[in-house]
Amino acid sequence: MSAAVVVQDVTKTYDDLVANDGIHLDVGAGEVFGLLGPNGAGKSTLVRQLVGLTRPDRGGIDLFGHDVVATPSVAGHLVAYLGQDEPALLDLAVHAAVSTTARLRGESRRAAAAEATDLVEELGLTAVADRPLARLSGGQRRLACVASALAALRPLLLLDEPTAGLDPVARREVWAAIARRRDAHGVTVVLVTHNVIEAEAVLDRVAILDRGRVIACDTPGRLKAAVSDDVRLDLVWRLDPPYGDPTVAALADRAVVAGRRWTVRLSADDARAALGRLTGGAAFASLDDFTLATPSLEDVYLALGGRDDDLERA
């Protein structure tokens, strides 16, 4: 697999804040690659450097063999970039926003208009095609921005939280649109997310960022397998937990408590045994809900020392 993106030792500092700290990454052509991490992990800073908007203090970035640090303008030819918001397009109608982006990527006015019509339909925006982005709901506006990013397709899609604020149906529409472009045209996709469900569902490989560093990078499956055999037991108490119960007392020492919800990480055998005792004993009367789950990318993130904040799980 040839390399679409090669990032070597990229470091970027803002005043005293080290946003990226010696990042190395390789993304193969045709991959759907994710950058996962909480807010402030340095994901957007890295993406801005990939598209030539920000220059790294140190390190190299190659896109399809082109040196973006030496020639930032080359990124505009290779990359379709979707920022976290798109204020430049807010006053345009949806169709006009998409066709304007297509035109600015070199399409003729006629071709741009035709493609905008297709994209607006593909992302389910036909009913609001003539409405300015500023007057759409947050989710529709995000969809319109995604449509704009997909206009006049580039070899690399660089999408900063493309599904932020979308409902599950719209989110699947976006994933489907991205997948179609990868399957039909071999487009490479790098997307930023702090949603672990999205990361597990759509990414071929994922780099987990924390405090400006890549703390892990592999397929979601391998990452989960490598970190731990532990499973996660979630308990939700209807009433105060019955601490008199020996199983509950034992779990209480290891639980991460959030209100009435306990999260406990245990070996699979211990979890199964504990759940058996809880559901078969008197404590069951106090239990509102429970789940037993294999490790998620969130567990990988926590096991590698990440902070348990800002990751989305919906």
Binding site: P87, L104, G106, H185
Partner: protein, 269 residues
């Protein structure tokens, strides 16, 4: 993973993926940005243009009341200065605010991430603002010529005057908006620039002290004011019009180049 209820339309633009295309042409970029900026200003431009025109016409009415028997040269200078002031209000004041807001709101990133010439983005935006100054400048010139009893024969010169001053001043307005660290400072700087155009454009050159006459030549819109003033005196010559328009364009080329450079710096900050 990817179930959708509708059959999606075919994905277009496969060819675009195959190779790195060249940069989008300068004219296509300027045209698309021009339309984008026009769409943006659709709601606000009417009231703003009304205010800009009313301001200039108001100044002319004031001066007509104050100066009892102005000579023709003075009248022509006042009316020409008032007409170009409409352009200054929009190209300096409003455009500086607009680019300041684009810089602060990170709208520049959208353009910077596209394969487009930055100068075309600046000029496309500036041109959209300059466009809706034409009716205001024309109204001011017509009303002013009527009030001061000036001939209408060469009033068409308001068009090259607006274009020339629009290009020269919008480069300054764009550069100010992009260079100032805050929108508020960009607004103040644009307002100060407009004040300079107001005084040095409206007051006839012969009435200015020597030092101010030198300063007048340094103001980008002076050449456009002089083109229109010559027309209102009925003494414009093709050579005189051409060199003054050329001087305005040269001014505009320099200031727009500075603005394009400021654009790149603003994105990379």
């Amino acid at each position: 993973m990817t179930q959708v209820s509708r059959t999606p339309p075919p994905v277009r633009a496969a060819a675009a993926v195959a190779a790195v295309n060249g940069r989008t042409s300068w004219w296509s970029t300027a045209d698309a940005v021009y339309r984008l900026a026009l769409a943006r200003g659709r709601i606000a431009r009417g009231p703003l243009l009304f205010v800009a025109t009313l301001q200039s016409v108001g100044i002319l009415v004031l001066l007509r009341g104050v100066v009892r028997h102005p000579d023709r040269a003075t009248s022509a200078a006042v009316v020409a200065g008032g007409s170009v002031l409409v352009v200054a209000f929009v190209a300096l004041n409003l455009l500086a605010q607009r680019f300041g807001a684009m810089r602060a709101g990170r709208s520049l990133d959208y353009f910077a991430a596209l394969p487009v010439p930055v100068s075309a983005v600046v000029i496309g935006t500036a041109a959209s603002y300059a466009t809706f100054t034409v009716p205001g400048a024309l109204v001011t010139a017509v009303v002013g010529a009527a009030m001061f009893g000036l001939p209408f024969g060469q009033l068409w010169l308001v068009v090259p005057a607006v274009v020339a001053s629009g290009i020269a001043l919008s480069g300054v307005g764009a550069a100010v908006g992009l260079l100032m660290p805050r929108v508020e400072l960009a607004t103040v700087a644009g307002q100060l620039g407009m004040t300079a155009v107001l005084f040095l454009g409206l007051i006839p050159p012969a009435h200015l002290p020597l030092a101010a006459q030198g300063l007048r030549q340094a103001v980008p819109s002076t050449y456009a004011v002089d083109v229109l003033a010559a027309g209102l005196r009925g003494s414009a010559t093709p050579g005189g019009v051409l060199w003054r328009v050329a001087a305005s364009l040269a001014y505009g080329a320099v200031t727009l180049a500075i603005a394009a450079r400021a654009f790149r710096r603003a994105v990379a900050r």
